[in-house]
Amino acid sequence: MSEHMENIYLAIVLSPLIGSIIAGLFGKLIGRSGAHWVTIIGVAVASILSMFVYKHHMFDGAPDYNAAVYTWLSSGGINFEVGFLIDPLSVTMMVVVTFVSWMIHIYTIGYMHDDPGYQRFFSYISLFTFAMLMLVMSNNFMQLFFGWEAVGLVSYLLIGFWYKKDTAIFANLKAFLVNRVGDFGFLLGIAAVLMYFNSLDYFEVFAQAEGLADTTIVIFGDHAWSLMTVICICLFIGAMGKSAQVPLHVWLPDSMEGPTPISALIHAATMVTAGIFMVSRMSPLFELSETALSFILIIGSITALFMGFLGLVQNDIKRVVAYSTLSQLGYMTVALGASAYAAAMFHLVTHAFFKALLFLAAGSVIIIMHHEQDMRKMGGLYKKMPITWITCFVGSIALIGFPGTSGFFSKDAIIEAVHHSQIFGSTFAYYAVLSGVFITALYSFRLFFMTFHGEERMDKETWMHLHEAPAVVTVPLSVLAIPSLILGAFLIGPMLFGDYFGNTIYVAEKHNVLHEIGSHYEGIMLFTLYAFKHPPVYLAFAGIFVAWLCYIKFPDWPGLIVSRIKWIHCILEKKYGFDEFNQKVFAGGTRCLGRMLWKYGDISIIDGIFVNGTARSVGIISSVIRHIQSGYLYHYAFAIILGLLVLIAVFVHGVLN
């Protein structure tokens, strides 16, 4: 069976790749429908096989699979291999990634219908699916890094998909470089792992982790750092890049320049959660460093709260959802910091569905509005596009954690977990995620009301031609709405408190907050009822209520509020100044430094003084010495006599002494 399974794993990875290659290289030949068929079939195969593998592992109890496919290279006694680790964590990711990707492939037929780069787009998103699968199915750090950078490449390609747009090609370069800053840390982390564990294989590394818990490493002066802290923080810097945590979050809002399907697939549902997945995968390492966990907790809670605020002032429908994604990624990161890895993964799964849904709903609105993204020019759309309206509503209530929806279970679990956590920073994190609930509800329903309700703010002409999106758009919306509503109820029991992850995720006894919560867990009904005793639910309701007041009941309130607190609004408009700072200090500073090194270092000093200076001085000296060779016999005769006199003088001097 196991050999048989290996072929299935290979098929899961390779079928999207083959689809991508065919659509990419022979796009002209097979035409538009050829391109979408071949890629959709590729992803569908991957998705169905992933579900089969999921069933095989989660229901039929197949053992974890861990084996190499081939040796990438071996050097210095270390084998770098490409291989698969199939366990509850990876099968969960496989199903989420391939299923969301599948839906988005279908949706793309509608969204990119008139785009000249149709085949190219399908090729890219299938390539992305391949890269993401390589990342989640990896059994070693090298392949993880491969997938990590490969998804970054596809993200770069897709953000800059409309390469004529200046903003798009600015955003994709920015995304790639900011991610590279994260990867810089990530690679150092991997290097540290290799040095101390002498292997890059997950299992071999995890098996030694306990034994190296007390190892220290000297970096600055002679202060000894815990090795685990250094490794974990380095790895987490990689996660901060990919999962857009403050201060490396700056690329994600700009990435909205790309077409909406990829905002849904890459920049909401899958790629940006790679960091969360990675930390969960590395739980045996992270559990050994409380410093790193606190660091994660604090970074995550800053992201969760402060990125949420920014969602309140955006008028671009996609950017609101983008900031909401940042904030939700912050929630997942907080869960990681609180050692509630399972809760982070749980939120990752539910979020993948409802956030993809929200993006696709936003995209549906955008295509019908002829690529208008400004919510100030929308309103009242519920009359024209009922399916989009309902599905967007489902996505929104799931996002804000309305009792009973998927998002409710996963988010509540995170808040509870942080509440129980004892590590440094957990109190701050608790209040951050708690206030985040109100903010989330406020910006979500601001979006919902501004887009679908209130007065119609577009011009008459546009309003007349509005209609519901085609079936290729509404079907994926409806399909994604189902898990957004009900998946949480099914998963919470096994995933958080049950045996879902088996031994895959390791939590130290003293950090095990989920176990503590689980001891009171008595089924989803009681969990839901119990939630009414706690503030999050009321905060969510309050958020909806305030949004209703401001955007339906008294539409002139927002303007009034803004005029009262201009300076806060200004800070939020400027996004806390991160972009300007980076642009001035990092981008400008780097260019300035480069120019200085070039102009002064290379041109003036090395070339000017040494290289050409040498040439010049040879010229000068020779022009002086040249005069000796005058060609007159009496000059030479005189020189000979002079020389003779000197020699005799030296000789006499020598004799006398």
Binding site: G76, G160, L177
Partner: protein, 506 residues
């Protein structure tokens, strides 16, 4: 088929040289014949190199396919050839690149095509000679002779400022190699032979080793080039025709790296240990400083030239870091990884820099400008070209899955075993390499068409496509499966490291 009975190494040297001489004689009157003949010669040479590879014994660290004839009896100079796992990949790279260069010249070189082809064919033979020579004087002859065709290539087919560039190139590299010759003469006096292996074994005082190391350093550091003796390279590249830049970047820079491995480390191990911090610092300066300089270049060829210097920083880093790693960990495994990574970096950089220069050449042939500001929106008129260039740009930024990743990855991993900070500065390349390459790509390729000339560009033709496809295949193949390159060199690298760790001072 076995080649062990054939003088395969001599064939690798003399086939292209004789072919080159024939093209010289044939002259420009038979332009078509000359072109096809040159292509045939370059392919034949490549076939020889593949046969060599197929018959090569990976398990052995000793010299293989040895040929040995006395040449100048009076001075005990021999025509002594052999190949090991360090030279073999470089020979394959040389022969492969020659095919590309011949193809790249096809319709582009209008002036004296036969001389152009002759220069490159002869150059190929001489470069192969450098990699297989086992006699120091023979090595020196090939090493210096190589400068002549390159001098001619830049001097005749070069850009407007070619005279300055050729003189700078020639004097710079020549000055370095003169010191190497002096070192050879000294070593001859000590070892009683010009055989390189005898020089490896001769015991030397630390003082003597230091002086020899410095002499070698001057020759090889200029060639590779290391900061601060690198300024000839951007000038030479800018003025050289595309083919010249390709050979210069892909092969001639590697001569410096090869020299460090063949001469500096095994002949002066104690001095290498003594100077290793110095070498590491210079390497890191190359990676970081040159990375910043590359960022602000306005001329594409200059930018790629600077990027080459920065990438070569990884090569010298990988070569001189083993001592610290062994001192730190007490094992040679990390040291081997670093050195093999550096070797891989040389091979991979050969492909990638060749590809980048060819890409610039493709654009230059159409627009006659190398300036970034003259372009913008090339993707609109040349989409296929843009796709290829993206692949190579990504490879240049070290993306996993391309060959550019492998070497850098291994060198960074191993340098961590020497020191956190060495790895820290080396890893800067992740950010800087991506920044200078992709920023250039963005300004040249992406965006709306800014000028009429760009709108009228025609996409790559079949010949150009063939060249870029060949390169794309190797870049991806060695990115996904670099093992074959490593299998060839394990035995030789291991022996070299063990040899360099033995003190030979007395």
């Amino acid at each position: 088929m076995t080649v062990s009975n054939l003088p395969i190494l001599s064939m690798l040297i003399w086939t292209p040289i004789i072919g080159g001489i024939w093209t010289l004689i044939a002259g420009d009157r038979q332009e078509q014949t000359v072109k096809y003949f040159s292509l045939a010669v370059s392919i034949l040479t490549f076939v020889f190199s593949v046969l060599l590879y197929l018959d090569f014994d990976n398990a052995s660290a000793s010299m293989q396919f040895v040929e040995r004839v006395s040449w100048i009896k009076a001075f005990d100079i021999q025509y002594y050839l052999g190949v090991d796992g360090i030279a073999l990949p470089l020979i394959l790279l040389t022969c492969f690149t020659t095919i590309l260069v011949v193809l790249a010249a096809w319709e582009v070189i209008e002036k004296h095509i036969s001389y152009y082809m002759a220069a490159f064919l002869i150059l190929t033979g001489l470069m192969n000679g450098v990699f297989v020579a086992l006699d120091a004087i023979l090595f020196y002859v090939f090493w210096e002779a190589m400068l002549i065709p390159m001098f001619i290539i830049i001097g005749i087919w070069g850009g407007p400022n070619r005279v300055y560039a050729t003189i700078k190139f020639f004097l710079y590299t020549f000055l370095g190699s003169v010191f190497m010759l002096v070192a050879f003469l000294y070593l001859y006096a000590k070892a009683g032979s010009f055989e390189i292996s005898a020089m490896h074994d001769v015991a030397l005082t630390l003082q003597a080793q230091k002086l020899i190391f410095i002499a070698f350093f001057l020759a090889f550091a200029v060639k590779i080039p290391m900061w601060p003796v690198h300024t000839w390279l951007p000038d030479a590249h800018v003025e050289a025709p595309t083919g010249g830049s390709v050979i210069l970047a892909a092969i001639m820079l590697k001569m410096g790296g090869y020299g460090f491995l063949r001469f500096s480390l095994p002949i002066t191990p104690d001095a290498s240990l003594h100077f290793d911090d110095f070498m590491i610092v210079l390497s890191l300066i190359a990676v970081v400083y040159i990375g910043f300089v590359a960022l602000v270049q306005e001329d594409m060829k200059k930018l790629i030239a600077y990027s080459s210097i920065s990438h070569m920083g990884f090569v010298t880093l990988g070569f001189f870091i083993p001592f610290t790693i062994v001192a730190n960990t007490g094992e040679t495994s990390g040291a081997i990884m670093g050195m093999e990574g550096a070797m891989m970096q040389m091979i991979s950089h050969g492909f990638i820099s060749a590809a980048m220069f060819l890409c610039v050449g493709v654009m230059y042939d159409r627009m006659h400008s190398r300036m970034i500001k003259d372009y913008g929106g090339v993707v609109n008129s040349m989409p296929y070209f843009a796709a290829f260039m993206l692949l190579f740009a990504m490879a240049n930024s070290g993306l996993p899955g391309t060959s550019g990743f492998v070497g850098e990855f291994l060198v960074i991993l191993s340098s961590f075993e020497a020191s956190f900070w060495i790895a820290f500065f080396a890893a800067f390349t992740l950010i800087l390499g991506a920044a200078y390459t992709l920023w250039m790509y963005k300004r040249v390729i992406f965006g709306d068409v800014t000028r009429e000339e760009v709108a009228e560009l025609t996409d790559i033709n079949a010949r150009e496509t063939l060249i870029l496809v060949l390169l794309a295949i190797v870049v991806l193949l060695f990115g996904v499966w670099p093992a074959p390159v490593f299998d060839v060199m394990h035995a030789s690298v291991e022996q070299l490291i063990n040899h360099s760790l033995q003190s030979k001072a007395f």
